[in-house]
């Protein structure tokens, strides 16, 4: 390379800079761009948080959350029933969030794994905290009563408490001779038949007003239970038929059940 070329180059660049075509971008342009990226990160993080907490809520509301307690059979049903569309959407958004965060030196100077773990931890802990509040149950109630805008209402009605053929969550409303009746979140009453084949992995003491998860094929309004589990998880979603009663009026009527296998 000859030595004259760089000097010619400097002059060429300087003469180009003096033309009207090349203009320095104002500082406000870069400030606004940074603000937009930060805003994008915040909005995206909040949306991911909302999605993950919503998925957790739907899993609890449908009873899927408690299925691992039923062993391999429960885990298998859980994996085939998870709202994968929402989960994959959340994962895709986490990848986008990670690429936005990686624009800042505090993130790209460290291994990607660190920022990814930080994002996932923040999202999981925050969604856990959100699920301790009445945020999703409140919106679900609003959706049931038709008070949410059409898209949000459909979203909650469609995803919040999906009904499955073989997993059911409800509150025991009545103990019967061959089992019990449960009231689902939408007010439907389901007849649960308990037999000697029914397993109770967490004990048999089921009484009225208990929240239970039932595994078993549904046939119209009847379920022949293969597994039953009482859970301590109050979503505070009043059903259409829900009428609050004073606690001392509930008769603790125990079911005469064959011990679980």
């Amino acid at each position: 390379m000859n030595n004259n070329l760089p000097k010619q180059l400097a002059e060429k660049v300087l003469s180009k800079l003096k033309t009207d075509k090349v203009k320095m971008k104002p500082k406000i342009h870069f400030i606004l761009r940074t603000l937009l990226i930060v805003l994008g990160i915040v909005v995206l993080a909040l949306f991911i948080l909302y999605l993950i907490s919503f998925v957790t809520f739907t899993l609890r509301a449908s009873g899927l959350w408690f299925l691992p307690g039923f062993g391999f059979h429960g885990v298998r049903i859980l994996f085939t029933s998870i709202p994968w569309l929402l989960v994959l959407t959340a994962l895709f958004l986490i990848v986008i969030l990670e690429t936005l965060v990686e624009r800042f030196s505090f993130a790209y100077r460290r291994p990607i794994l660190y920022s990814t773990i930080a994002i996932v931890l923040i999202v999981v802990v925050s969604s856990f905290l959100i699920n301790k509040t009445q945020f999703h149950p409140f919106l679900f109630r609003q959706a049931q009563e038709g008070r949410l805008p059409p898209i949000a209402g459909e979203f909650y009605r469609g995803f919040s408490a999906p009904k499955f053929q073989d997993v059911h969550r409800g509150v025991v409303s009545e103990i019967t001779d061959d089992g019990f009746r449960v009231e689902m979140s939408d007010g439907e009453i389901l007849e649960v038949i308990v037999s000697s084949e029914t397993r109770f992995p967490f004990g048999t003491g089921i009484k009225e007003s208990d929240t239970v998860i039932i595994l078993g094929e549904r046939d119209n309004g009847t379920v022949r239970a293969s597994d039953v589990r009482k859970i301590d998880d109050n979503l505070n979603i009043p059903s259409k038929n829900y009428r609050p009663q004073p606690r001392n009026m509930i008769v603790p009527h125990r079911i005469p059940i064959v011990p679980g296998k």
């Binding site: 390379m1 070329l5 760089p6 180059l9 400097a10 060429k12 660049v13 300087l14 180009k16 800079l17 090349v22 203009k23 320095m24 971008k25 104002p26 500082k27 342009h29 870069f30 990686e102 030196s105 790209y108 100077r109 460290r110 291994p111 990607i112 794994l113 660190y114």
Partner: protein, 192 residues
């Protein structure tokens, strides 16, 4: 006046350019034109391409000078612009495979003791690098060029390439190993 300004640091001059003394940008061009030309050559562009691309680097730097944070190093910022321009030029030509994602940026790595070896091997490595450059994967080539020719430190290379500091160390170490291997193979072939 020009003499006095030329004694200032890159960052001080950049700050003055930001404040409106745009004529001083010429000092920055003159300080870096050789370095950026040399950096471009290591990307294996042809002589005709180099001048156009380097001109574009300085024009982009001028247009975006208000985005430069004067509390940081000007050289890292300028090399980042150059890196992006070179990558874009390579992509246009589809000459080299540039991976979208590299696994070595994902995990933490133990710190590499590069500085202890540096002084003893610098000259030898520069010679090797010159001879084996075209054989090296761009992933290893660029950190080696920035470290041994442009004399940037790990943190500065991390800022230019937007990769973790630990990954810079790993790429330098692996790059040197690969380069030595290529050099030995070439040398053996020449002898035989």
């Amino acid at each position: 006046m020009e003499q006095k300004e030329s004694e200032k640091s890159d960052e001080e001059i950049a700050r003055l350019v930001q404040a409106g003394k745009t004529d001083l940008f010429g000092i920055l061009i003159r300080r870096y034109e050789d370095k950026i030309m040399r950096y471009a050559k290591k990307f294996l562009f042809s002589h005709e391409e180099i001048e156009d691309i380097v001109q574009e680097v300085f024009i982009k730097a001028y247009v975006n000078i208000q985005s430069f944070d004067a509390s940081r190093k000007f050289s890292s910022w300028l090399y980042r612009i150059a890196h992006n321009e070179f990558i874009n030029a390579i992509k246009k030509k589809k000459r080299e495979h540039l991976p979208f994602f590299n696994l070595d940026t994902l995990f933490p790595h133990p710190a590499s003791n590069e500085t202890a070896e540096k002084e003893a091997n610098d000259r030898e490595l520069q010679e090797m690098l010159d001879k084996c450059l075209s054989e090296l994967d761009p992933k290893y080539r660029e950190p080696l060029v920035l470290y041994y020719f442009e004399e940037l430190n790990y943190k500065e290379i991390s800022d230019v390439l937007r990769i973790p500091i630990a990954t810079v160390g790993v790429r330098l170490k692996r790059g040197k190993q690969i380069m030595k291997l290529i050099y030995e193979q070439q040398f053996t072939q020449t002898i035989s």
